[in-house]
């Protein structure tokens, strides 16, 4: 029963630790861990035990799983994936991925 909350706790701890690093890649991994934690929280909001497929007329509604948290998680995964790819692109530009240096764009620094 306590596996889910413990997993969330571990993921959040790791995520927060990585977020506090200077390197962009580590920050991206930190965000990834945190979003996994969020997905697990969403799943836990439904019933975490195994339930039958939520298909109308085939499975009794009382025995079926709650499809809504699963739909939430699916949407969240898609969004996080898209942003993660963009963040990795932002990490790859410039000479290093340190967030203390601004990547050059070839523009005048005076503006």
């Amino acid at each position: 029963v306590s596996v889910l909350p413990l997993t969330v706790a571990v993921l959040v701890t790791g995520g927060v630790y990585l977020l506090c690093q200077v390197s962009m890649i580590r920050i991206v991994f930190g965000i990834t861990l945190l979003s996994h934690a969020a997905n697990l929280v969403l799943l836990a909001a439904g019933v975490s035990a195994w339930r039958a497929e939520p298909i109308a007329d085939r499975v009794d509604a009382a025995a079926a799983a709650d499809p809504l948290p699963q739909a939430f998680v699916l949407t969240a995964i898609v969004i996080t994936l898209a942003v993660t790819v963009f963040m990795l692109a932002l990490a790859a530009i410039g000479n290093d991925d340190s967030t203390q240096h601004m990547p050059e764009t070839g523009q005048d620094h005076e503006r």
Binding site: L34, V41, L42, T75, T80, F86, M102, R111
Partner: protein
């Protein structure tokens, strides 16, 4: 306007975005780039008219059973927000045509996608969909921030993405907690649960925390003044009108619906808004360029707007809403005019600009009126907004009222001093030196420009028109105030909202 048409506020900008991603003819780009925000603003006005008769319009997308369907809900509050944000988007689109950014590949397309997300966030009646629409709004923003702006844009782009994804994750966790506690994320079904059920209150508070970061409430404001000035003026004006305001809108909506404006947590909010006003107003003093200075005034504005929610009386909510509408318009105006200066003179730094009052008479006059509006002097919408906030404060207890009126005055003084500094550096002083182009730019201490440099009309007009809107907000203050009162009553009366969404 019949309820199913509400979906058009999202569909039309999205379709426009898709079309603009494919078509590149100048005439098509210009037309769609201007027509879609204009249509959205016109739709907002139609909604406002419709709400005279029926205060709430609701539509379950796809015709599912109420409670299961994804609801789109509109009331006076959301209609007002749609109208004003679309108007500022229109001004930004017009400015981007003048500044040439509109001809960057995908720029107009991304702007319309942003508008679709914003309209969706204003209309949705469901917490999870709010998350989705905020993401729809943020994804094009990530690209916009990386496309145009100063050399810092990629660095601040990293900051902006990380902060927003982090808060979105937090938001999602909050949604999960609310769903776990209440079994629904439909706002109408959650009505009043935050007051009655501690678990829902705790879950929704995580959502509110995430929104507070997105709205840049002090002490979670640090990212905004760092990130926004790194973008171009067009994008900054767009973001200031849309992003933080969507977050504030959601805070208003969620606190009014879920917590039913419960008084228990309001003292905490009062402290936060008081600190926001003062810190934002005075932080401007340390900045040395126009847009950096203005970015802190955005933080101060968030304080004034949320002050209305912290009072949670009809007058207070109406004053907060009025301030929000005023702030969206005047911030857009000032930022677009700052952009016109930056594009024409190549810099927004105080040390490189001087004496623009004599060079750019129309711009200087409009900018001065915009600053009047920001500070809260007549004849501008800012005056009425501040009077409204102070008037609403009188109804609070005597100690609270005294302390907060003093805070408002103190913060306004800070804004006044900071904006005076901006004005005297940029607009007063000896006239700009005129140097031949080859001698420009490389030696410090020179406040110079090429001979005959003038701000083009195409860059000037959008900002000036927004200032005119702010002046109209002063002249037509009465009817506008009535609208805000109606929106505030709609926020307090969650019963009508609930019966419309869940008949």
């Amino acid at each position: 306007m019949s309820p199913p048409l509400l979906a058009l506020f999202v569909v039309v900008p999205l379709a426009g975005a898709a079309l603009l991603a494919l078509v590149h003819q100048r005439i098509v780009v210009t037309t769609l780039h201007l027509a879609v925000p204009a249509l959205s603003a016109a739709g907002g006005v139609l909604l406002l008219l419709a709400h005279v008769g029926s205060p709430v319009l609701a539509h379950g997308v796809g015709g599912f059973v109420p409670g299961v369907a994804i609801p789109l809900v509109s009331d006076t509050f959301s209609a007002l927000m749609i109208t004003v944000t679309s108007l500022v988007t229109l001004a930004c689109a017009a400015f981007s045509l003048g500044s040439g950014e509109a001809w960057l590949r995908f720029f107009p397309s991304l702007t319309l996608m942003l508008l679709a997300g914003v309209n969706g966030a204003f209309l949705t009646g469901d917490l999870f969909n709010l998350f989705v629409f905020i993401e729809v709004m943020l994804l094009p923003s990530y690209a916009l921030i990386a496309m145009t702006g100063s050399w810092r844009r990629l660095g601040v782009g990293r900051l902006f993405v990380v902060i927003n994804l982090l808060t979105s994750t937090l938001f999602l966790i909050g949604v999960g907690l609310v769903y776990g506690a209440a079994g629904t994320v439909n706002l109408a079904a959650l009505a009043g649960l935050g007051r009655d059920d501690v678990r829902v209150a705790a879950g929704a508070s995580v959502v509110l925390l995430a929104l507070a970061v997105k709205a840049a409430v002090v002490p979670m404001h640090g990212w905004l003044p760092r990130a926004y000035p790194g973008t171009s003026a067009t994008v900054m004006a767009l973001f200031s009108a849309l992003h933080t305001k969507v977050a504030i809108y959601a805070v208003y909506r969620i606190y009014s619906m879920v917590y039913d404006n419960a008084g228990r947590w309001l003292p905490l909010l009062l402290v936060l808004v008081a600190v926001s006003m003062v810190v934002g107003a005075y932080s401007s003093l340390g900045e040395r360029s126009i847009r950096r200075s203005l970015s802190f005034q955005m933080v101060a504005g968030v304080g004034y707007i949320l002050l209305g929610l912290a009072l949670s009386t009809t007058l207070g909510l109406a004053a907060g809403l009025f301030y929000m509408l005023h702030h969206i318009v005047v911030m857009g105006a000032l930022l677009l005019m700052a952009g016109a200066i930056e594009i024409t003179y190549g810099t927004g730094r105080f040390t490189r600009l001087t004496g623009l009052m004599r060079r750019e008479r129309i711009l200087a006059a409009a900018f001065a009126l915009g600053l009047f509006s920001l500070i809260g002097l007549p004849p501008s919408s800012g005056f009425l907004a501040k009077v409204g906030v102070v008037r609403a404060l009188f109804d609070a207890g005597p100690a609270t009222a005294t302390a907060l009126v003093a805070t408002v005055v103190l913060a306004s003084l800070g804004t006044l001093v900071a904006m005076q500094k901006l004005w005297s550096e940029v607009f007063w002083g000896p006239p700009m030196e005129e140097l031949p182009p080859e001698e420009l730019g490389h030696h410090d201490g020179h406040r110079a420009c090429a001979p005959g440099t003038r701000v083009r009309a195409s860059l000037l007009t959008p900002g000036v028109l927004l200032v005119v809107v702010s002046l109209i907000g002063f002249v037509a203050g009465g009817p506008l105030w009535e609208l805000c009162i109606r929106a505030a009553e709609g926020l307090q009366d969650s019963g009508t909202y609930v019966t419309e969404v869940l008949p």
